[in-house]
């Protein structure tokens, strides 16, 4: 149980005082994962740093050739925000499949990323959008590729006190397709998911990126399939691409699904995606 809860409204205040606090401290924005972790006895931190009201972390704004999405933006905001719909439609599409409406009103995009789940819908969309993550440590920023610091379930390569400030998505006129297989039609954790962003020029695919969830220890990109699809006609490339994507993954069998089913469904998703273009 936390002994202190420090609430911050600006990054400046956060960096001014954070080092003085006991070392077992943890950031909290929506709390939907942390509360469950606490009730299961897995969270032993003595200080929670409430960053849910820091204005910078709640921003969604244009920034030159990019858009910036703050880490404390609630999942439900992604669905209707005009900037997200225009430049990061994969994110607004993923919301339809993301847990339940009441969780979306509390959970944040930064929390979805920080939890580093292999089935994270938000991360699946961010990966296909080729987003970057902006990290901030004592007011010094670094920007890295979205998947480069995700090391496996609940493992993310952040330094002590390093804060996920937000995500950067470049403004590209690409279309997106989001697919997810669950036990129920909605409100479920993915057995497997696929997100694809692309351009179509004179019937040929360009600038393709494909991300997959629940088929590896973290969300992954299907880079060989992306390369293969570049410049191809979507329906003609379908058979080979579906074969290729199966060769790229080696999913596990677990409580939610089997390895074989996951392989098949990813290939079916890609086939459906290519047929729909």
């Amino acid at each position: 149980m936390p002994e202190y809860i420090e609430k911050y409204y600006t990054l400046k205040d956060l960096w001014k005082s954070v080092k003085k606090l006991p070392s077992d401290r943890k950031y909290l924005a929506g709390g939907t994962d942390l509360v469950i972790s606490l009730s299961c006895g897995n969270d032993k931190s003595s200080v929670w740093l409430d960053i849910s009201d820091i204005d910078r972390l709640k921003e969604i704004k244009e920034d030159g050739k990019n858009i910036f999405i703050g880490a404390a933006v609630k999942i439900s905001e992604l669905e209707s925000n005009p900037l997200i719909k225009k430049w990061a439609s994969a994110l607004s599409e993923c919301v339809k499949y993301y847990a339940s409406p009441s969780i979306r009103n509390t959970a944040t995009l930064g929390g979805n990323y920080a939890n580093a789940s292999p089935c994270a819908d938000g991360v699946l969309a961010l990966a296909a959008l080729r987003a970057k993550v902006m990290l901030n440590l004592y007011d010094k920023r670094r920007v890295v590729d979205i998947l480069s610091i995700v090391k496996g379930p609940k493992k993310i390569d952040l330094k002590k006190d390093e804060l996920i400030e937000g995500f950067i998505v470049s403004k590209e006129e690409r279309k997106s397709i989001f697919m997810k297989m669950m036990h129920r039609k909605r409100f479920g954790i993915a057995k497997a998911g696929l997100c694809m962003c692309y351009k179509l020029e004179k019937g040929k695919l360009r600038d393709v990126s494909i991300s997959l969830s629940s088929v590896a220890p973290s969300v992954v990109r299907a880079k060989k399939t992306e390369e293969y699809l570049e410049g191809k006609n979507p329906s003609k490339a379908q058979t080979k691409a579906c074969q290729l994507i199966r060769e790229e993954i080696s999913p596990l069998t677990d409580i939610r699904s089997t390895s074989d089913y996951r392989m098949r469904i990813v290939s079916v998703f890609l086939s459906r995606a290519l047929c729909s273009i």
Binding site: E3, Y4, I5, K7, V35, S102
Partner: protein, 166 residues
Amino acid sequence: MKKKELSLDKDGKFDISFVLNAKELKVKISGDETLLELIRRLGYKGTKKGCDTGDCGSCTVIVNKKATLSCIIPAFLVDGCEVTTIEGIGSISNPHPIQEAFVEAGAVQCGYCVPGMIMSTKALLDENGSPSDEEIKHALDGNLCRCTGYVKQIEAVNIASKKIKK
């Protein structure tokens, strides 16, 4: 109303202030207390504890106009917020049109999920007075019912929407 720091007093509690069912309250909470535990401790037992992991929706309340699962939100996060529970929208002698509609449609059997269903419906109808069936399904997505089979709840929301418009 918001405070900068919530630190433990000598009894190991935090002070928070929030509005619960239109009443301003100042309460002491412990750091690991969820909103669900707090509101039930304050005597508002209409909000039900189901799974306690954010899966079933029976603990749904409205926080700042949004349907929220009270079992997975720490109580301190509602410091300065406005919270509405089932007790805040109607009573047995003076039920809310949504509550009347649930009874009329026969959308209540064991009743355990109903407070959560009604709060999700309230949040939906406050935002969208005439939802389509698809929008109703979307809004009630996280509220599980193991008796009625969901058709009657959709009917109930449609009846409620008409009642409120009158």
